[in-house]
Amino acid sequence: MGTAELRCRAYSHYMQKKDSMLKYIIRRLIHLVPVLLGVTLIVFTLTYISPGNPARMMLPQDSTDEQVAELEKAMGLDEPFVMQYFHFLFGYDGPGDSFDYKGLWALDLGRSYVSNRPVFGTILERFPNTMLLTFLALVLSIVISIPFGIISATRQYTKTDMAVTIAALIGISMPAFWLGMMLIWVFSVNLRWFPSLANPANLKSIILPALTLAAMNTAVQTRMTRSSMLEVVRQDYIRTARAKGVDERNVIYRHALRNALIPVVTVIGLQVGQLLVGAVLTETVFSYPGIGTIMVDAIQRKDTPQILASVVFVALVFALVNLGVDILYAFIDPRIKAQYIGVVRKKGGLLNGAKI
């Protein structure tokens, strides 16, 4: 959506000026540091201002105020905001050993108030599950969207095109959590083809959540492929090819597709981050053990370190994935740079409404 467009514009700024790839990467990384710091500060502040005293929540209900104060001290909660934020980033060494942690930079924010597990241990253990789901969704969305986009574009204004266009429109308008429940209703409850619970050990069970997660992206990419194809087909070299008598199949698959897919591929890259975030709701619907369920659980139980860690982690991964994708594209194909700027300027709107 707009985010992608704007991000691209900001980056293009750099792209136009610099010449060396390395310089570009370094600049991007430096640019990322204050952004990431800002993200951590916002998330930390939100947790800080949230009502409820963690020390009191951890203690049995019959504890005295002195015991609460003692525990607050042990947890470092009596210190001023700035110090607590500093601890959050660089570690905390309290009077006891139970509440020490090494800080965000070392991926250690201590242990969960509820389960007593290291919060990042839980996250890192479950993150591969989320990655698996995201990967499957990504593959599904590509496999479905590109052929349909092409078919739709090559048969513009036919019934097929109309059907694909409308399906894609519905796809971008459907809340993922509702789609997931509808799939459960049809395929688990009524047909009993798939289990209603998803679990990384049973790949069959991940099909429904992967479809759910992929739906939005599939729709976006289908629309993108279609319009990109239409754009390319009108260009001179295609006309030339046609004029030269190259048969239509060859025109489409040899000449047009190759160029039409460049912006599509770029968009796919940018959507990896969106998929990761979308997994939060999808996982909840299918009780899938990933990052999303950790987060929602932690929020429901007011497990502050776990909330902090999972929100910051997803935000960081999101930022890094997007950065990685940008750099990768610039690296693989400098041509993309030009395409990128041009296409996104004009067509960025196609991604609108795609974000959830």
């Binding site: 952004v35 800002g38 519905i170 509702w178 709701l281 429901q300 999101f318 609108n352 959830i356």
Partner: protein, 298 residues
């Protein structure tokens, strides 16, 4: 002057009308607005939030005795009843009101605040711009739904916090959008002329610059409404949005989830409602973009 605007509008409408789907979208939203405005005439709020426990899970298009405003009457459950025997159709219609308000308020908030910040950043440039744009960068770096989730989790679930969370998360897009437009407009001759005449900065931004960069904002805002409605429904679905018994689509779905086997109708219709509204806004957004941006004429 007025004549000119009229002409412009007619021209715009002509272009907009060409996109049949966009017209369908407009009609759909029109329908929802009418339903939302007339919600109280169709079903009283007390009736659709009040329990009719003996009628719990009544099926689609079933009749049952209900107590409404102290009297007992026969009632048609058009789309069936939910776990408290409340009318699903009525709740959807009242929920439309909530969703439309959320969409409008959050986007208005984001456009006004984000737009002003963007205009200021674009117009003045320099350090102010750096500060504002870095701030926007940071907000953009946190995925929308995640950010909204974190805000509501921190502040506690309530209608106000929900609006705030969604408003804040959709804000940075407008900052960047307006800034970019302002930067292209601000060196144009008519702005220079106004400046030479001694117009204040505020006046220049308000009268000369803003109206000239409205087109992309309007398109983005239309799509933003769809986005806000979806976010609100998602948060309510996770129990972090509007609290029962207030009718809101996401929270209806959240409750209905437990009855997927015994009462699927409670799950299907609120979801359809969310989908059609978002679809309609997306269609309008597409149509507006094509109509407002002559460069993109097919």
């Amino acid at each position: 002057m007025e004549q000119k605007y009229k002409g412009e509008f007619a021209e715009f409408w002509k272009r907009y009308r060409r996109n049949r789907l966009a017209v369908v979208g407009l009609a759909l939203i029109g329908l929802y607005v009418i339903l939302a405005l007339g919600a109280d005439l169709l079903y009283s709020y007390d009736f659709i939030t009040g329990n009719q426990i003996p009628n719990a899970f009544s099926g689609i298009a079933s009749f049952a005795e209900v107590e409404d405003g102290g009297t007992v009457r026969r009632h048609l459950y058009l789309l069936g009843a939910d776990n408290f025997g409340r009318d699903v159709a009525g709740r959807i219609i009242h929920g439309a009101r909530v969703s439309l308000i959320i969409g409008f308020v959050t986007v208005a908030f984001a456009v006004v605040i984000g737009g002003s910040l963007g205009a200021v950043a674009g117009y003045y440039g320099r350090r102010l711009e750096t500060v504002i744009m870095r701030g926007a960068d940071i907000l953009l770096a946190i995925p929308n739904i995640l950010f909204a989730l974190a805000i509501v989790a921190a502040l506690g679930p309530s209608f106000r916090n929900l609006l705030l969370a969604i408003g804040i998360t959709s804000l940075p897009v407008y900052v960047r959008l307006v800034r970019a437009s302002v930067m292209t407009v601000k060196d144009q001759e008519y702005v220079e002329a106004a400046r030479a005449q001694g117009a204040s900065d505020f006046r220049i931004i308000l009268i000369h610059i803003i109206p000239n960069c409205m087109a992309p904002v309007i398109v983005q805002a239309t799509l933003g409404i769809a986005q806000s409605i979806l976010s609100a429904a998602s948060l309510s679905f996770l129990g972090l949005g509007i609290q029962p018994p207030s009718p809101e689509w996401g929270n209806m779905l959240s409750e209905a989830r437990s009855y997927i086997i015994s009462a699927p109708h409670t799950l299907i219709f609120p979801g359809l409602a969310i989908m059609t509204v978002i679809l309609a806004y997306n269609l309008i957004g597409d149509g507006l973009r094509d109509a407002l941006d002559p460069k993109l004429k097919r």
